[in-house]
């Protein structure tokens, strides 16, 4: 099973590299720029414990007399606080690197989760048709008829309300992933359903059905690989959206707590010092957030155009 999965994954990867895609990638400067930017930002985030001058959540490494220092190039800037410190004496660059880790992790987890839910529902709806399809697609319509931001806020608020206060902070990441993927699956479900409905009438599926292959196996092994391309494009574009949703929820105070801040939480906290002159506490996390989403969107836009047969 595992070996099979690995082989099919390898086949997909080889197909991707062998296609015109890689060539098109190299000829699109924006895509290369986005990819490089993403690798740099994600890389520094992953290596945060090694790279950052201090661990901003280790109280032993924070000095209150170093609070609210401006960035290094300003008059009172001090080494090693490149981007200055916040009013608690935490190095802004370090909080950004650690925050980026959390933002990226939640963004990726939400996209994977939404994809898993959406692909499963889309396969079932497209393959079985009839009332299964009807019920699942009505469900999708309903999700789409409420603004997604609102659903996400309500889901996180409700789950936080249900948990005992002691557990709220510990589970805030999980709740966020749930809230974002609960509204994000519809797009995947619709694309997969559409391609499944085309694929299930083809001879190879019929052949598999005749020799008695189980439905689940047909869906997973035969249909899914042929319905995956649009899903991957949507996933790339949605990664940017998921990171933005997480940041928005955290900014509104229903996301990550101050003890484990994502970029959105950092902006929320920094916003309180907007009028005290410490602009660096809020500006740099905002810039970092914008850069990450920009990088993802540049790659996603290119991928969408490159895989769109109408534009070839």
């Amino acid at each position: 099973m595992a070996a099979e999965a690995r082989r099919s994954l390898g086949a997909v990867l080889r197909a991707i590299v062998a296609s015109d895609l890689f060539w098109s990638f190299r000829r699109t400067p924006m895509a290369v720029f986005g990819a490089v930017l993403f690798v740099v930002l994600a890389g520094t985030a992953v290596l945060a414990p090694v790279l950052s001058p201090q661990n901003p959540y280790d109280l032993a490494q924070i000095f209150i007399d170093k609070a609210e220092l401006p960035p290094i190039w300003a008059k009172d800037g001090e080494w090693p606080f490149l981007l200055g410190t916040d009013p608690q004496g935490r190095d802004v660059l370090s909080t950004i690197l650690y925050g980026t880790r959390i933002s990226l992790l939640i963004g990726l987890a939400s996209v994977l989760c939404a994809m898993a839910i959406g692909v499963t529902i889309g396969l079932a709806a497209g393959y079985f048709g009839g009332w299964v399809d009807n019920v699942l697609m009505r469900l999708a319509d309903t999700v789409l008829s409420i603004p997604t931001l609102l659903v996400a806020i309500l889901v996180s608020a409700v789950f936080k309300g249900l948990l005992p206060p002691g557990l709220r902070d510990a589970f805030s990441g999980v709740i966020l992933v749930g809230a974002i993927s609960l509204t994000g699956w519809v797009q995947y479900a619709r694309t997969v359903r559409a391609s499944t409905m085309v694929e299930r009438r083809k001879e190879y599926v019929l052949a598999a059905q005749i020799i008695g292959v189980a439905s689940r196996r047909i869906m997973r092994r035969h249909i899914l690989p042929n319905a995956l391309t649009p899903v991957l494009v949507a996933a790339t574009l949605n990664l940017g959206l998921a990171i933005l949703s997480e940041a928005t929820l955290s900014f509104l105070g229903v996301g990550m707590p101050v003890t484990k801040p994502s970029l959105g939480t950092l902006i929320r906290v920094g916003n309180q010092y907007l009028f005290s002159g410490s602009w660096w506490v809020v500006v740099f996390p905002a810039v970092q957030l914008g850069l990450i989403v920009l990088a993802v969107n540049l790659v996603g836009d290119w991928l969408r155009d490159a895989l769109n047969p109408r534009l070839r």
């Binding site: 924006m30 697609m137 009505r138 999708a140 319509d141 309903t142 008829s145 409420i146 603004p147 931001l149 609102l150 806020i153 309500l154 608020a157 409700v158 309300g161 249900l162 619709r190 359903r193 559409a194 409905m197 940017g240 933005l244 940041a247 928005t248 900014f251 509104l252 105070g253 229903v254 959105g264 902006i267 916003n271 907007l274 009028f275 002159g277 602009w279 809020v282 500006v283 905002a286 957030l289 914008g290 989403v293 920009l294 969107n297 540049l298 836009d301």
Partner: protein, 330 residues
């Protein structure tokens, strides 16, 4: 046609009932409403009396029906936090949000349309390419970050524009408007710009894509062959054919803008429904949360339904497809 209208309306009612079910479930099952509404010293008799008054002794389906009936009459109960009628609270705040959303929509069309035409016509020009890049940037920056940066620049550094609030408002009947005073109009600038930024890039990209498609068609070639000026070809022929989808998307986005206004309202402390909702969330003021969900969904569903019905009137092919297919997913 009648079948389609009935089907579409039934669909809208179904969605609203589902939303009501969600709102009801939140109200009923997130914590005990009685415990949340009374303080700890309340006697058992008081508790029982409130339980009776809220109808919590009845069966859950009966409670749901009562909830729907009350909501339809605009009765969403009493706010846990300040003991005011929730409907009055929301009605007070509605004008602020509505004016913000309308101004943002107008801005997005005023700025987005010309930019879209420009980038389509000068497709390979340097400025058009730069605008395309800026539009990706606009989609990538979250609106709250944009709002904060704008405050930092125009309020904190330059001191030109107010950073929060609605300025002076004028009461006309039950409606408070910021359109009639100087400070009210000035206060609108930053929040509406923040809210419309995403919308501007959306309109711009849409117009660009549509224009590129239309400019390739035969009737444009014929218009040119007739010797019309390039200006006339672009604006009187090409742009007109792009407007339908633009108006649709703008209409459909109004619901989203109302929802997204809550982020902008939080940044600018704008006294609208969204800010009320965000405050309600942090206080777990469930009647307000439920009512806001219902009101925003109602606007959302109403707009969607109206757009669908208008489309069916304008384009008979859609009527056929929608009746035969019954779904947008294909």
């Amino acid at each position: 046609m009648l079948v389609f209208v009935i089907k579409r309306l039934a669909n809208a009612v179904g969605v609203m009932l589902t939303v009501a079910l969600i709102a009801f479930a939140i109200f009923r099952f997130v914590g005990d409403p009685v415990e949340l509404m009374l303080n700890e010293q309340a006697s058992q008799a008081q508790r029982d009396e409130l339980r009776e008054r809220l109808g919590l002794n009845r069966s859950v389906p009966a409670q749901y029906l009562a909830f729907v009936a009350n909501a339809a009459r605009g009765d969403f109960g009493i706010s846990f936090r300040n003991q005011q009628d929730v409907f009055v609270l929301i009605a007070e705040r509605f004008p602020a949000t509505f004016e913000l959303v309308i101004v943002a929509t107008v801005l997005s069309l005023l700025i987005g349309l010309p930019l879209g035409v420009y980038t389509a016509v000068n497709r390979n020009g340097l400025a058009a390419q730069a605008l395309q890049f800026v539009s990706v940037l606009g989609v990538s920056l979250p609106s709250f970050a944009v709002g904060i940066l704008l405050i930092l620049l125009f309020s904190v550094s330059l001191g030109w524009l107010p950073a929060f609030g609605r300025g002076q408002v004028v009461q006309i009947g039950g409606w408070s408007t910021g359109f009639l005073t100087r400070s009210g109009l000035i206060a609108l600038i930053l929040p509406s710009l923040t809210l419309s930024l995403f919308q501007i890039t959306l309109v711009m990209r849409l117009v660009r894509a549509e224009m590129l498609e239309v400019m390739r068609t035969d009737f444009i070639r014929f218009a040119r062959a007739r010797g019309l000026t390039e200006r006339s070809v672009r604006f009187r022929h090409a742009l007109r054919n792009c407007l339908m989808p633009v108006i649709t998307v703008t209409g459909l986005q109004i619901g989203n803008l109302i929802a997204f206004a809550l982020v902008t309202e939080t940044v600018f402390q704008w006294p609208g429904m969204g800010l009320l909702f965000v405050q309600a969330v942090s206080f777990i003021d469930i009647p307000v949360m439920a009512a806001y969900l219902m009101v925003v969904s109602a606007v959302f569903v109403a707009v969607n339904t109206i757009v669908d019905l208008t489309y069916a009137v304008v384009d008979p092919r859609l009527r056929q497809d929608a009746v035969a297919g019954g779904s947008h997913g294909r």
